[in-house]
C-alpha cells in the first residue's frame, strides 16, 4: 500500500491520465485579457469610447474563448464553454441597466435630499425663488412633503379597497367555485384586468366619477379607485396561488373535527398561507405606488399638503416628478426643478425597496414554524 501511495504521489507532478487533454488553467483568462486589449485597439480605430470598447471586447471573447477551448478539448467542451459565457454575458447585460438606474438616481438624488426637502412643500415656491437659487447657489428650494403624503394616503386607500375585494375573490375562486362557469369567467376577467394599461384604469375612474360628480372632477379618492383597478388582479393572483398550495389534507383534517367550511378557511387555510398572501399584497402595493398615468388624469397636482382624499387635488411622487421635469417652476432656470425630480425619484425607489424588504420580513415572520426533529 505504502509503495503504491508513494508511486502515486511521486507521479502527481506528471500528468494524470484521467485529466490529460484538458486546457491549461491560464487559457481562458489569457483569452480574456487578449480580447480586452484587441477590443481597445479596434475601438480606437473608430472613435474610442468605453462602451464600444466593452462591446468589442465582449464579442471577441465570446468568439475566441470557445474556439480556443474547442481546439484543445473538443467540440463538446467547446459548446459548453460557449453557452456558459453567453449565459454570463446575458446576466451582465440584465444587471447593467439595473445598477445604472440605481446609481444614477443615487448620484443625482442624494445631493438634493435634506431635512428641508423632506419636510418642506412647494407652497410659495415661484420661478423667482428658483432663479435666485440658481444665481446664488445653495440648497434646492421647496420640498416634497405634499407628494410623499399624497402617495402614502392614496396608496393606503387603494390598498384598503383592493385587499378585501382581491382576497375574497381569490377565496371564492379556490374554495367555492369548484371550476364552475362563474369561476372560469372571473378567472378570465382577472387575467384580462392584469393586462389593462394603467392609463385606461385612470380614464375609467375619471369617467366613473365624472358621471357622478361632473366632468373634470379630480381628487385623491378617484386616483385610489384607479389604483384599485390595477391592484385587484395582482392581489387575486398572488392570493389564489397561495391558497392553492395549502394541502387539502389540512382542510379535511379540519372538516373531520366538525369545523364548518368558512371557519376552516378563516382559521386553517388563511393562517397557513398568510405569509405568502401578505408578501403578495405588499408586492402589489409596490407595483402601484409608482403609477403615474392614472394619477395624472384623476388626482392632478398640488403644491401644498392635502390629507383629504375626498376634496381637492393632491400631489403624488410620480406626478411630482413628471411635473417638475415637464413644466419646471422657472422655465428659464430648470435646474432646481430637475434636482427636485431626482430627489423625489430617489424617495420613490426607497419606498419600493422598503416594501420589498417588508414583504420578505412578513413572509419570514408569518411562515409556519417548524422545529427540528
Amino acid at each position: 500500500m505504502s509503495i503504491s501511495t508513494q508511486s502515486k504521489s511521486s507521479s502527481s507532478s506528471q500528468r494524470n491520465t484521467l485529466t490529460s487533454g484538458q486546457r491549461p488553467k491560464w487559457l481562458v483568462p489569457v483569452v480574456m485579457v487578449g480580447a480586452i486589449v484587441v477590443g481597445a485597439a479596434v475601438s480606437a480605430l473608430i472613435t474610442f469610447s468605453v462602451a464600444s470598447w466593452a462591446i468589442f471586447a465582449a464579442v471577441l471573447f465570446l468568439i475566441a474563448a470557445p474556439i480556443a477551448v474547442t481546439s484543445i478539448e473538443g467540440s463538446r467542451k467547446g459548446s459548453d464553454a460557449a453557452l456558459t459565457y453567453v449565459v454570463y454575458a446575458a446576466f451582465i447585460l440584465a444587471v447593467v441597466p439595473l445598477v445604472s438606474v440605481i446609481w444614477t438616481v443615487l448620484a443625482r438624488g442624494v445631493p438634493t435630499l435634506s431635512i428641508d426637502f423632506l419636510t418642506g412643500t412647494m407652497g410659495g415656491i415661484t420661478g423667482l425663488i428658483d432663479q435666485r437659487a440658481v444665481a446664488e447657489g445653495g440648497a434646492v428650494p421647496g420640498g416634497v412633503l405634499q407628494a410623499i403624503i399624497g402617495t402614502l394616503v392614496i396608496t393606503f386607500w387603494a390598498t384598503l379597497f383592493s385587499v378585501p375585494i382581491g382576497l375574497l375573490t381569490a377565496i371564492y375562486l379556490v374554495e367555492y367555485s369548484n371550476d364552475g362557469w362563474l369561476g372560469k369567467v372571473v378567472t378570465f376577467l382577472v387575467d384580462v384586468m392584469t393586462g389593462v394599461p394603467s392609463i385606461v384604469a385612470g380614464l375609467f375612474a375619471s369617467a366613473l366619477f365624472g358621471l357622478i360628480l361632473g366632468p373634470n372632477t379630480r381628487m385623491g379618492i378617484i386616483g385610489a379607485i384607479a389604483l384599485t383597478v390595477l391592484m385587484i388582479p395582482t392581489v387575486v393572483k398572488a392570493t389564489e396561488e397561495m391558497l392553492k398550495i395549502v394541502p387539502n389534507e389540512l382542510r379535511e383534517a379540519s372538516y373531520a373535527l366538525g369545523v364548518r367550511k368558512w371557519r376552516t378557511i378563516l382559521k386553517v387555510v388563511i393562517p397557513t398561507s398568510i405569509s405568502g398572501i401578505a408578501s403578495g399584497v405588499t408586492l402589489a402595493i409596490a407595483r402601484v405606488i409608482g403609477e403615474t398615468a392614472p394619477l395624472l388624469v384623476t388626482v392632478g397636482f398640488l403644491n401644498t399638503v392635502n390629507w383629504n382624499v375626498f376634496n381637492d387635488w393632491m400631489s403624488t411622487l410620480p406626478t411630482f416628478i413628471y411635473q417638475q421635469l415637464m413644466r419646471p417652476v422657472a422655465p428659464t432656470a430648470p435646474d432646481p426643478s430637475t434636482d427636485r425630480a431626482w430627489g423625489a425619484a430617489l424617495i420613490l425607489i426607497v419606498f419600493v425597496m422598503l416594501l420589498n424588504l417588508i414583504a420578505r420580513l412578513i413572509a419570514q415572520a408569518f411562515a409556519p414554524k417548524t422545529a427540528g426533529r
Binding site: 379535511e252 383534517a253 366538525g258 369545523v259 409556519p368 422545529a371
Partner: protein, 259 residues
C-alpha cells in the same frame, strides 16, 4: 360515548360512476372493525361515507341509510358538520395544523369552532387527550412547540389525540399506519386496543397482520374489475375471515393467492 353503526343498502357515486354498491353492515359499539381489500375497491370511499367526508369531493354522493344508534346520518336536514363532530376521522398521512402548537392542535376542534373553554378545562382536555393517545410523556415539556416538529408516528398520535378531544362516538381511521415505521405502528395499534374501550373504531388497512392484531371483526371488500363498483364480499369475526372464510374470493385474498 360509543355508538353502533348500521348501514343499509348504501350506494356511493362519483358523479355518474357507481363506486361502491349495496353495502349492508352492522358495526357494534366498543369494537374494532377492519376493512381490508385491494386498492380501489372502495373501502376508503365507504369509510368516508360514515362521516360524510366524501361530500368534500366534488360530485360525490351516497344513497342509502347509515344509522348511528338508530339515527340516519343521511336523513333530511342533517348537518354534515354535526355528523363529523360525532364521527371523527384519522387520515393516512399525519396532518397536524402547521400553524399551531402541539397544545393548540389538540384543542383545534374546540378552538376552531370558537367554543368558550376555561384555561383549566383546556389544560385538562389537552392532558387527557394526549394521555389517551399515549403521547403525553413525550410532549408534556414542549406543548407550545409546533406540532410539525414531531416525528411521523408522534404526529399521527397527535392527530388521534386531536380527534379524541372532540369526544366523538366513533373514530374512523383510513390506513393510519401506512406512512409509519414498525415501532410507531405498534404504538398506534396498542392505542387502538385502548380506544376500543371508549369508542367504536373502524380502520381501513392494507396490512392483513394488522387487521388480525387489532380487529374484532373484519370486512372484506372486492372489485370485479376496473370500472366495476366495489362490493362488500364478506363480513365476520376476524378469526373466521382469516381462517375459515365462506367466500372463495376472501380466501384467495387473505391467503395471498389473489389476482
Amino acid at each position: 360515548m360509543s355508538k353502533r353503526i348500521d348501514v343499509e343498502h348504501l350506494n356511493v357515486y362519483y358523479g355518474d360512476f357507481l363506486a361502491v354498491e349495496d353495502v349492508n353492515i352492522n358495526i357494534d359499539s366498543r369494537s374494532v372493525t377492519a376493512f381490508i381489500g385491494p386498492s380501489g375497491c372502495g373501502k376508503s370511499t365507504f369509510l368516508r361515507t360514515l362521516n360524510r367526508m366524501h361530500e368534500v369531493i366534488p360530485g360525490a354522493y351516497a344513497k342509502g341509510k347509515v344509522m348511528l344508534d338508530g339515527e340516519d346520518l343521511y336523513g333530511k336536514g342533517v348537518d354534515p358538520v354535526t355528523v363529523r363532530s360525532m364521527v371523527g376521522m384519522v387520515f393516512q398521512r399525519p396532518n397536524p395544523f402547521p400553524t399551531m402548537s402541539i397544545r393548540d392542535n389538540v384543542l383545534a376542534g374546540v378552538k376552531l369552532n370558537n367554543k368558550k373553554i376555561s384555561r383549566s378545562a383546556a389544560d385538562e382536555l389537552v392532558e387527557s387527550s394526549l394521555k389517551g393517545a399515549n403521547l403525553w410523556n413525550e410532549v408534556k415539556d414542549r406543548l407550545d412547540k409546533p406540532g410539525s416538529g414531531l416525528s411521523g408516528g408522534q404526529q399521527q398520535r397527535l392527530c388521534i389525540a386531536r380527534t379524541m378531544a372532540v369526544k366523538p362516538d366513533v373514530v374512523l381511521m383510513d390506513e393510519p399506519c401506512s406512512a409509519l415505521d414498525p415501532i410507531s405502528t405498534i404504538a398506534i395499534e396498542d392505542l387502538i386496543h385502548e380506544l376500543k374501550e371508549q369508542f367504536t373504531v373502524v380502520i381501513v388497512t392494507h396490512n392483513m397482520q394488522q387487521a388480525q392484531r387489532v380487529a374484532d371483526k373484519t370486512a372484506f371488500f372486492n372489485i370485479e374489475g376496473t370500472g366495476k363498483p366495489g362490493k362488500l364480499v364478506e363480513f365476520d369475526e376476524t378469526a373466521t375471515i382469516f381462517q375459515n372464510p365462506k367466500q372463495k374470493a376472501t380466501e384467495d385474498y387473505v391467503s395471498g393467492r389473489f389476482g
